[in-house]
């Protein structure tokens, strides 16, 4: 990359190189490479089965890739390959510095404990042992994601789908992560709820200066949230660039198809 005089490119927060995942002889994703800088929002789009979720799982340490490297700028070890870390170190890093918002809140929440305890859990995992302080932080965060703080002790099943997703967002942001993974965070919600949740996410991401990797098949979500886009097809990245550039002037035939197939009302 040519350095532009007067501008210093910040060091990457996450750097992925040659990432490949085979499920036996079925391809998950092949030779994916990109850099993510602090505060940047990267969208991964593509049809279902294109390898988006495989890629996300590989990057977030949930699924060991067949080959390739995922380097993250950890607080304790600097920029290191996360699969080179020992398991306890990797788990600790995931707990301390990452968040993961699942598509289905049931995957991301403990359904048997209250919403408040779900939000406070990351604090306890990081050594919080003062009930009053954690309670206050939980109330602050419920307020921030626009939930009724009086319902703090209700079980997640007593909340609507959109509210559950807000609890999940609060749970994944309360400990001040630097990188948050989102797997279709607005999938399964109706359009008006989706719009409000997106609005909230956008605000939080901007206020907190979070880096986000968001996987979606919804072009509208990509347009609203992402700074940069990666378009995937058949396990490979076919096009990458700034969001507006990719969506307004798609180069690859598949991207053109994807963009033109968005329903207009």
């Amino acid at each position: 990359m040519n350095a532009i005089p007067g501008r210093i490119a910040p060091a990457p927060l996450l750097s992925v190189e040659g990432l490949t995942k085979w499920y036996g002889h079925v391809l998950g994703c092949r030779d994916v490479a990109f850099d993510l800088r602090p505060g940047e929002v990267l969208g991964i789009v593509g049809e279902s089965g294109s390898g988006k979720t495989t890629l996300l799982n590989c990057i977030s340490g949930k699924l060991t890739p067949t080959s390739g490297e995922v380097r993250f700028d950890t607080r304790r070890f600097g920029l290191t390959d996360i699969y080179g870390l020992s398991e306890p170190d990797r788990r600790r890093m995931q707990r301390e510095e990452w968040g993961f918002v699942h598509q289905n809140p049931r995957d991301g929440l403990r359904m048997r404990v209250s919403g408040g305890a779900n939000v406070a859990e990351p604090l306890m995992n990081l050594g919080g042992r003062h009930y009053g302080n954690m309670r206050q932080a939980t109330i602050d965060w419920l307020d921030r994601v626009e939930l009724d703080t009086r319902r703090i002790d209700d079980k997640p099943r007593n909340f609507s789908g959109g509210m559950q997703q807000r609890i999940q967002v609060a749970r994944n942001l309360i400990h001040g992560p630097r990188l948050v993974f989102m797997d279709e965070p607005t999938g399964g919600l109706d359009v008006s709820v989706q719009a409000r949740l997106l609005d909230l996410l956008r605000e939080l991401v901007r206020d907190l200066g979070l880096a986000v990797i968001i996987v979606t098949h919804d072009m509208a979500v990509a347009r609203l949230m992402a700074d940069r886009l990666m378009v995937m097809k058949g396990g490979e990245v076919v096009e990458t660039g700034l969001t507006d550039q990719v969506l307004d002037d798609p180069q690859h035939p598949y991207t053109q198809l994807l963009v033109s197939s968005v329903l207009q009302i």
Binding site: P88, R112, V113, A117, Y131, M134
Partner: protein
């Protein structure tokens, strides 16, 4: 007062092994016990055997006792603190039968005490072994159903999750309301479930002189707390650990500092509180302590001499 077992008439014909289990099984269990003692609080898997009682009736404790008992031992068995409940009586009789040991109700005299739900009130001494019957050895199971995950959490000392249950307690009841099976940290390393003893007994585990062995038969786990080990009950900085207290005293012996059971007396809602440790209560009454509801002693001989008309 120990009851010596009379010599058996059919001693030569006995067809079962000493202390019921075969020698190889006892050897396997002893190896697990040694490992458990070497790593306080760590759950050691073992090949739990089918016992002549159902799971949940103390199969883990019985196997531990069978592995460590010898003819010179004096055996005591309690259930909810009492020596005279059905389960305690039959397990005690089982070992009198298969191991030819003397049995006792006296806490001080026993060398092996098998227990469920209580630690005796009388402080244990060096040389004694307390065997717990454990239904669920995994303290994190209620919050994390995956065994692979809980094993990793123990291995990497990730115990934040246990505090979630305490948090739920405080947010629901305004205090840590959990009373039995209250989780403890052993030597500041392993999180351990102390089996369903009341949290009243938790402080007794710390720096105890006796060996404490825990056996879970269905879950196939053995763990242990060796003598003089640090045992700390979990709590929050602003909600410290505390044990149960009673405003009442024991109705029979007047004890103020023992663990009390509430007994309903009639349909009108009358009730009494009595020591759950039956031997402790009897000893106090013998020493002359009298509670508010203690009656006269029954004169059995007099009753026999003058049959009712």
């Amino acid at each position: 007062m120990s009851t010596p077992v009379p010599a058996r008439a059919n001693a030569p014909e006995r067809y079962y092994n000493y202390a019921y289990l075969d020698e190889q099984t006892k050897r396997m269990i002893r190896r697990s016990i040694l490992k458990a003692l070497a790593i306080p609080g760590y759950q050691v898997p073992f090949g739990s055997r089918e016992m002549p009682v159902p799971y949940g009736w103390g199969t883990g404790g019985i196997q531990l006792t069978a592995a460590i008992i010898g003819p010179d031992d004096v055996y005591k068995c309690i259930d909810q603190g009492a020596d005279d409940t059905t389960n305690a009586v039959s397990i005690r009789r089982f070992f009198a039968n298969v191991a030819d040991v003397a049995t006792t109700e006296d806490t001080g005299e026993a060398t092996i005490i098998q227990t469920r739900h209580r630690i005796p009130e009388k402080p244990l001494k060096q040389g004694q072994v307390l065997v717990y019957q454990v239904p669920q050895p995994e303290p994190l199971r209620g919050l994390e159903a995956r065994e692979t995950e809980t094993r990793a959490m123990h291995a990497y000392e990730e115990y934040g999750l246990q505090y979630v249950s305490l948090y739920e307690n405080v947010s629901t009841y305004g205090r840590i309301a959990a009373t039995a099976g209250y989780p403890v940290m052993v030597e500041e390393r392993y999180l351990m479930s102390p089996s369903p003893i009341p949290k009243f007994d938790n402080p007794k585990m710390a720096q105890n002189e006796a060996v404490m062995l825990f056996g879970a038969g269905r879950e196939k786990r053995i763990y242990a707390v060796p003598p003089f080990t640090r045992v700390r009950s979990l709590d929050f900085e602003d909600y410290p650990f505390e044990t149960q207290t009673w405003e009442e005293t024991c109705a029979l012996c007047g004890a103020k500092d023992s663990y009390l059971d509430e007994v309903i007396l009639d349909d009108a809602g009358d009730k009494m509180f009595v020591c759950s440790d039956s031997h402790h209560c009897a000893e106090r009454r013998e020493a002359g302590h009298v509670g508010p509801m203690a009656g006269h002693t029954l004169d059995q001989d007099a009753a026999l001499k003058e049959p009712a008309q």
